[in-house]
């Protein structure tokens, strides 16, 4: 499937900020199932190439806006060809041992209720099936409700509230899979319309490491494994590691955020911009 992504994020400041510094993880890391044809990130109209990769292998760059900053506008334009690999992820740059992803973080801290949720999944031999059941459990216990949680909400807090967004589903899925002894991580990316009931959006899901398969994606919010409607960008132990934008600002008082994403199915387009996701990829497609 040919996907054309346009993703605009605008940060506005209640009064001009003295300085804004942000770390962006907005370039797709290389993996099977998606071939990057063109990818460009602009900050306030100026192209920003990625500068380095982080410990998880995610391309990353920082930018700094100085002086009286009213707003920062980040535009992502990407063109990707995807295929459905039933969630199985290969070809990624893996710098950390798989077992590192067994350990919890503050956002994915396991409390009694998460332990109990994980314990409700029968201990069947088919690990893929077991994770599908866990995926459904997570979704059953967490209504999809926007605006009740934020980026600082822990998996345990979301579970206690019984509602959340994709980030909370991903955290809860990862935390409870770890309880069952499966290494698990958080993934950020995009989801285009086409999955029933879903709108084009920035999205998050979990990847679970399963013997014989490697990393397999599970999108608890939609009860499925990622398919050709998904574009994978960054991963880490939790949201903090993989957040598309992490920033700090001096002055400026409060910051407001406006995001728009549109994704369309298009015919192939000419290449433009840098495409880190292309590296070493062609052989695997």
């Amino acid at each position: 499937m040919h996907l054309s992504i346009q993703h605009r994020t605008v940060y506005r400041y209640a009064e001009p900020a003295l300085r804004v510094t942000q770390a962006l993880r907005l370039w797709p890391a290389a993996c099977t199932g998606q071939r990057v044809i063109g990818w460009q990130v602009d900050v306030d109209g100026k192209a920003l190439p990625y500068a380095t990769t982080d410990g998880f292998g995610n391309p990353v760059a920082t930018h700094t806006a100085d002086g009286a900053v009213d707003q920062v506008r980040i535009d992502v334009q990407g063109h990707v060809e995807t295929e459905d690999l039933h969630g199985v992820v290969g070809g990624t740059l893996e710098r950390l041992p798989v077992r590192f992803f067994l350990f919890e973080t503050p956002l994915t801290h396991v409390d009694e209720s998460i332990r109990e949720l994980a314990g409700q999944v029968p201990s069947i031999n088919d690990a893929i099936e077991r994770m599908h059941r866990l995926c459904n459990h997570v979704r059953d216990r967490l209504d999809y409700v926007a605006g009740e949680t934020d980026s600082a909400t822990t998996a345990a807090e979301a579970l206690a509230n019984g509602s959340g967004v994709c980030q909370d589903h991903a955290h809860l899925m990862a935390a409870s899979a770890r309880v069952l002894g499966f290494p698990a991580r958080y993934v950020s990316g995009y989801l285009c319309a086409g999955v029933e009931g879903a709108e084009a959006a920035s999205h998050a899901w979990a990847e679970i490491h399963i013997a014989d398969f490697g990393w397999v994606g599970f999108d608890a919010a939609n009860r499925i494994c990622p398919n050709e409607h998904y574009v994978r960008i960054a991963c880490g132990r939790d949201y903090h590691d993989a957040a598309p934008v992490r920033g700090v600002h001096r002055g400026g008082r409060s910051e407001t955020l406006e995001v728009s994403v549109s994704i369309s199915e298009t015919p192939a387009m000419p290449t433009r911009g840098g495409s880190p996701g292309n590296r070493g990829q062609s052989a695997q497609q």
Binding site: Q22, A23, D54, G55, R95, R246
Partner: protein, 473 residues
């Protein structure tokens, strides 16, 4: 006092003076009591003037109170120092090799010589550092290795400080004050100098300039600011090195390049000697609310444009549970037998070690794995029944967080106290500098427990300091 009899006094005071102390002994005997009292007051005035202060977090009162300085030096013969120095060099080489390994191929974990979980499930293990190559593969550029002595040839490493060890300003200042008070003593004694520590530190920092540094590297010292308990030391060291002392707000990272703002504009910075903990160094990576560091410092490092000393993630080597495995690191990375001994340590995460610790708690020192500065520690033989009970409850609740060690009979050095001169327990913190080569200024900081019988030398727990002499011959 049969307990006392077993304790090694480094001077052999009063009746069996050991050779390195012959001059000090003669000097002490030659000084009239009233002149000593005068010199002690003079020393205090000098320290006040120099301004060495150290805020003590748990005590009220004068936050600028002085760390007591004792006039009687601690002396080591050249041969004693040489064997220590070799051991320190070996240990720090192994520590740096270990840190490099855990952030690269993790051979020591694959070989099962250190439990994988201890490293991977450790808050000091920073995945941000994985596969990042640092100049000369050095992570702990400035290491403070805490040593104790229990006999003429018995030394133990108590702990390794691989993050931001402090105290070196006392090492330098103690010497300066002693030389001002007793210049004639130094003319006769032949003591190895320590005043060049700042030069050695600067050379070390310049030798680890990042790959993209052009020309002479610009080095700065980053402090959390005047409210930090060690601010005096930060200012002192910047001054000794002749480099800028900066705070986070003075630094700016643009396009993964770090600059310092000054009246003349922006100056590119290549190496930062940072005295801010990992958690506060870069809000884009660690605590987002931190205003102490500067956003982007870590990414400038990752892009090859900046060196942070000490490196982020160096703390994985000085965790008290990882400490147990340092002798194994020496064997694994260097293929040598360790020259310095560890204190035999019980790892309370193991059921049999926990059982032993609980059964012998009145004889052991129990330490929190992530604690420092003498907090979160129980000295069994000196604790009350109630203190032991409280501590046992904590220990049972979180055994993974504790290690236990035998109470060592730390050596003593004669020290001025209310009643005159009496033996007091000491430790030693030598500072080991690692860059393209290892440099160690002879000696280190001697801390002394001023309370009779006390084994806790931390300044936050009523410790003082002494000048440390390494004799040149």
């Amino acid at each position: 006092m049969s307990e006392r009899a077993a304790i090694f006094d480094e001077m052999g005071w009063p009746d069996h003076i050991r050779p390195p102390y012959a001059l000090v002994d003669a000097w002490l005997k030659s000084l009239p009591a009233e002149q000593l009292a005068l010199k002690r007051r003079e020393a205090e005035v000098l320290f006040r003037r120099i301004g060495i202060t150290f805020a003590v977090y748990t005590e009220g009162g004068d936050p600028e109170r002085l760390i007591p300085f004792d006039l009687i030096p601690r002396v080591m013969a050249q041969a004693e120092w040489q064997s220590l120095r070799k051991g320190l060099e070996q240990r720090v080489r192994a520590l740096n090799a270990f840190i490099h390994d855990v952030y690269h191929d993790r051979e020591i974990l694959k070989a099962d010589r250190i439990p994988e979980r201890l490293v991977l499930n450790n808050p000091q293990f920073r995945p941000e550092m994985v596969d990042l190559d640092l100049p000369h593969n050095v992570y702990t550029h400035i290491a403070g290795i805490d040593m104790v002595r229990t006999g003429p040839d018995e030394y133990y490493v108590l702990e390794d400080n691989c993050r931001t060890p402090s105290g070196v300003s006392y090492m330098v200042e103690n010497r300066e004050v002693m030389m001002r008070l007793f210049p004639e003593l130094f003319r006769r004694a032949g003591v190895a100098p320590v005043a060049h520590y700042g030069d050695e530190l600067l050379e070390t920092l310049r030798s680890v300039a990042p790959p993209n540094c052009q020309g002479e590297p610009t080095v700065v010292l980053l402090t959390p600011g005047i409210h930090n308990s060690a601010y005096y030391e930060h200012a002192f060291l910047a001054d000794e090195m002749g480099i800028d002392l900066v705070e986070g707000a003075d630094l700016l990272v643009k396009n993964e390049i770090c600059y310092m703002r000054s009246t003349s504009g922006l100056t590119r910075v290549d190496v930062i000697y940072r005295r801010i903990d990992d958690d506060y160094i870069d809000p884009l990576v660690f605590r987002p609310e931190s205003m102490l560091g500067a956003p982007g410092l870590h990414f400038a490092t990752r892009a090859g444009n900046l060196t942070l000393a000490n490196a982020i993630g160096a703390g994985i080597a000085d965790d008290k549970a990882v400490y147990i495995h340092v002798p194994e690191m020496v064997r694994f990375y260097l293929g040598e037998e360790p020259l310095l001994q560890n204190v035999p340590t019980h790892d309370c995460s193991k059921p049999e070690d926990l059982a032993y610790t609980l059964a012998h708690i009145d004889q052991l020192v129990v330490k929190a794995v992530h604690g420092s500065g003498g907090y979160g520690m129980l000295v069994g033989p000196h604790a009350s029944k109630a203190e032991i009970e409280t501590f046992v409850a904590q220990l049972r609740a979180r055994p993974h967080d504790y290690v236990a060690q035998p109470t060592l009979a730390l050596s003593t050095v004669p020290t001025f106290v209310e009643s005159g001169i009496a033996p007091r327990h000491v430790d030693l913190r030598p500072f080991v500098l690692s860059g393209e080569q290892i440099r160690i200024v002879p000696g280190g900081l001697t801390r002394v427990a001023l309370r009779d019988g006390s084994l806790v030398v931390n300044s936050s727990q009523g410790g003082g300091t002494k000048d440390t002499w390494v004799l040149e011959r």
